[in-house]
Symmetry: C2
Subunit: 589 residues, 2 copies
């Protein structure tokens, strides 16, 4: 037997009890007569005491224990003289009379503390040590609890978890697939799913009514810090529902999770159209933790002889309250450099300073009268002490730049409070996105998304501008400026689906070859249906106010898609190449 209790369970009420504990040596302190050892396991830390006077031989052995040794001790629980109020077990210690070393440990390459001295690569290579650190461990426990609560909730709503296959079919649409060569069918490949999309729709056609799955998905993309080649989705689909049913159900799930995991009761989620989000926040995932919305001043700023504005598709700005006097020219020059960075790409930055003393100072003062500049201010209800920041240029680009500037100012002015959560639904996304490069439309959500009923008529148009205005019955759940989930009402009519494929440039043959099984299924009684998918990794990160999803994945990959611990990917044996009927691509001449 290895333990009667865990290292987190003993309290003062257990004093006098004989116990058996096992765990890791967090730290040991040798105070001459006494040696103290902090024993750690998943559940907590308990202090062990070895007494040199009463048990010299035992104490001598205890002194030799290194960090991260695995030991098993027997002893008696007793009240501590100097208590540790920061620890649930801080009132007691174990007077040890028996010690077994279960396994030794080399000196870890980095300290197993909340704040480690280990660099990213080292932490990934020795992930089993990194996972012993309290914050990383807490993240994994949080994730486990979140998935459990998700299942409780969805089960209560009549959803059934159904596993969909991982070895499926490759489709050029969307991101790049990971593929799996088939040995039994030489020259053919499976693909790993980017999402179970078509299968969950098939399950609706199959009459399963309410499906969900917490499932791994795969995308062979060039990785960014917040991207992983494999990631996890809370994937859901419902039949016989309208958009309203879906929003209500998954707003309910989100509220349940915040309540159960964070003890936070969220109010009803506001809703905003894609157009409004772009207008007021310059983003389809607005961060509502602070205002500072975008105001359009084109009607006031154009035609006054300032060529930059006169030629601009959009002249708009944001108003930073009460910093006019505090924000120096140096700050403004620095900010101008910031908006000029290629990542933002603005030509320049115009400011209007409404000083506390009522005077006005602006970088375009020689083109506009104070009266005109005051007019601009009214758009933002700007008063004395406020600072106006204005960008101009091509409409779409400039809105995004203003969105970025708004977030940057929010950060710089400390307007973003930690522990605050501002969820919202963004609705009515465009159905199609025009891609200049390939000269064709792409599905903004995916090819199975239904247009809004009132827009279906527009699908027959051949006018690109009309098609651009087509709105999808799609929705995103956004929290604190991060997209947590997205979904849509699906097309369930074969003719409409075919029409959508042709708008996306699929030939009838291509559509049939790739999605024939779905089109076929639509001919055998497909019900109206729709769904949503949450990004589990990101949801965990946002709920914990963190940016890096890696800290919520037990064994993440680095930016080159490599698992540093097991060192994968790796070469395979020649026999494996042979069996798969594969060879390396011969170099081009």
């Amino acid at each position: 037997m290895y333990r009667s209790h865990t290292c987190g369970s003993l309290r003062l009420t257990d004093a006098g009890q004989r116990v058996l504990l096992s765990g890791w040596v967090q730290v040991s302190r040798d105070l001459g007569g006494l040696t103290f050892v902090d024993l750690r396991d998943r559940y907590g830390i308990t202090q062990l005491v070895f007494n040199m006077d009463t048990r010299p031989e035992l104490c001598a052995r205890a002194r030799k224990l290194g960090r991260e040794y695995v030991i098993r001790v027997e002893g008696v629980v007793r009240e501590r003289t100097s208590k540790n109020p920061n620890r649930p077990t801080g009132d007691i210690e174990i007077d040890v009379d028996l010690l077994d070393v279960l396994n030794a440990s080399k000196v870890p390459p980095f300290t197993i503390e909340a704040d480690t001295d280990g660099g990213d690569d080292l932490r990934m290579k020795y992930r089993y040590l990194d996972l012993r650190r309290e914050p990383v461990k807490r993240n994994l426990l949080f994730r486990g609890k979140l998935t459990l609560e998700t299942r409780h909730y969805l089960d209560g709503q009549g959803f059934v978890e159904i596993e969909t296959p991982f070895l499926i079919k490759s489709t050029p649409e969307g991101a790049r697939d990971f593929v799996v060569p088939s040995r039994l069918n030489p020259g053919e490949f499976y693909a790993l799913p980017q999402s179970p999309q078509t299968f969950k729709q098939i399950l609706m056609v199959a009459g399963m009514d309410r499906y969900f799955q917490i499932v791994k998905c795969f995308r062979d993309e060039d990785l960014r810090a917040d991207r992983q080649p494999e990631f996890t989705q809370i994937d859901c689909e419902m039949a016989f529902v309208s958009r309203e049913d879906i929003l209500r159900t998954f707003e309910g799930l989100t509220r349940h999770l915040f309540l159960k995991l964070l003890g936070i009761g969220l109010p009803e989620f506001p809703r905003m159209s894609y157009d409004e989000a772009m207008q007021r926040y310059g983003s389809d995932k607005p961060d509502l933790r602070f205002e500072m919305t975008i105001g359009d001043i084109g009607h006031l700023a154009r035609g006054q002889g300032f060529p930059v504005f006169d030629q601009a598709g959009l002249v708009a700005g944001i108003c930073a309250k009460g910093i006019a006097d505090r924000y120096s020219n140096k700050d403004l020059n620095e900010l101008t450099d910031w908006v000029r960075r290629p990542q933002i790409g603005a030509g320049g930055l115009v400011y209007v300073r409404f000083n506390e003393d009522g005077t006005i100072k602006s970088s375009v003062g020689k083109y506009f009268t104070d009266e005109q500049l005051r007019q601009w201010g009214t758009v933002f209800e700007a008063g004395p002490g406020d600072l106006l920041l204005v960008l101009s240029g091509e409409e779409e680009k400039t809105r995004k730049q203003l969105g970025e500037l708004r977030l940057e100012m929010g950060r710089r002015l400390g307007l973003i409070q930690p522990g605050i959560f501002r969820p919202l639904w963004v609705l009515d996304f465009p159905l199609l996105e025009w891609d200049e490069e390939s000269g064709r439309f792409f599905a903004m959500h995916h090819p199975f998304t239904s247009p809004k009923p009132e827009d279906v008529g527009l699908m027959d148009s051949t006018d690109r501008e009309v098609l651009r205005r087509l709105r999808a019955d799609a929705y995103d759940l956004v929290i604190n400026g991060t997209e947590i989930g997205g979904g849509s009402i699906r097309i369930h009519d074969r003719a409409l689906q075919s029409r959508n494929f042709s708008l996306l440039g699929f030939s009838t043959e291509e559509a049939e070859a790739q999605f024939g099984f779905l089109l076929g299924a639509f001919e055998y009684g497909a019900p109206p249906h729709g769904g949503i998918a949450f990004g589990l990794d990101r949801l965990c990160a946002v709920m914990n106010g963190q940016n890096n999803i890696r800290d919520f994945i037990a064994f993440p990959k680095n930016n080159t898609g490599r698992d540093m611990m097991i060192d994968a990917p790796s070469p395979i044996a020649d026999a494996q190449w042979e069996e798969l009927g594969l060879a390396p691509l011969p170099p081009r001449n």
Copy 2:
């Protein structure tokens, strides 16, 4: 809005209520004045009535509804004149006054009934129709409930669900891997996991203490009826435990599942050593639903001048009670042919018939006296009316043949009752299996399995016979002759693991290249640990008294590893070959 109720929810107490239902047309019956439609959804079937006299136009439309049409109806619940006691909704019907056809349906290629006329291939191609059939639907709901109950139970036991990666490293050991070419690392491959074995051990080293995961695993094998290239495991691992802790925990899980899903309370599971199982049942997964155990009669049968027995390593048999008179010579000849089939491979079958009248008839009567044959009978406590069936030959082969013969007789004599469950733990498997072909040892369980503490010493032997006798601290859970789960106490000591690798013919370099990360982890405080994995697909099948796991998988693959519905695997675009740096293997000259 599509529905106020489901097709399974309305009762007599709802009579008079106005309701809205949506679903599929199961069948419609036109009785002239009235047209009856059975409306089906996941939750049940409700009868709709259309009245020709009161609503001729509506009724005329109802008559045109085909099977599997998706419709939405409004009407009033009323008591049925001719009730259907076999249906929860059988007391009521809906007097329909409003009908919308939401989607039409072609005539299905097979009937959507419990007993369908659809062949296997057709059912797989149109899986979305097959899944509408009550028995298949019930299987998926059962599976969903089972996974949910599994998570409830394990959560209650302090287990945390942690996701392990799917893109890992290929290892030659064990079955064949599916591999995934890496675009970012040309010429290198990931492998899909055959199980999360090494990762769950790493999680124990990481201090997660109790891990579980319901997870897909992959094996690129030549498929048999009961094998799938992707299958699901309930995968578990615990730290600081002995075998006893693990058996108790997962016997508890199994009992919980049988109680929650089948309402069956299982008694404590018996335990049997591998040796005893082979001795008495000729199998390491004995079916305990009937006795008829194997008895050894070599000491009585040898040396009596019957050469076949004299040269045999084993002479043993089974005793079929009370069928001596009923089992004809014709039956015995037929049975002899059966044991001679290559799948069984016995040379012949010897019988001894203890007739009701006390006389004895045997196929070896001229070699043995009645007295001697009676002596054989005593081994089986055979009495008048019993039939002895004896096989002889090389020990191991003959035991397995007797095991097969026992099962066959159990089936033929109808000794296997449906709805009976006889679980047991099989313990103390051999650690190593000698493979004549490759002239080396293989791990019977896997290379990380610990030998029993008392056998560790034997690992230093170089004598093959001694090593063969090495017992592993491994265990299988067997129910009704099917292996449901298996696991072991793991090695957590680097030196012992290295020793085991070398017994398995790994060079130090190979061991380091493939499992260096695990060996490394063992040097940083690895705790004692062990675990188990259940085959989810098979568990579902056994609990439902079925053999084919496919019926419990939403989208299974056929025997060539093909998904008939989406038609995968399939060729990929030349651009994909290019990007992956792959080419087809040029044909050999």
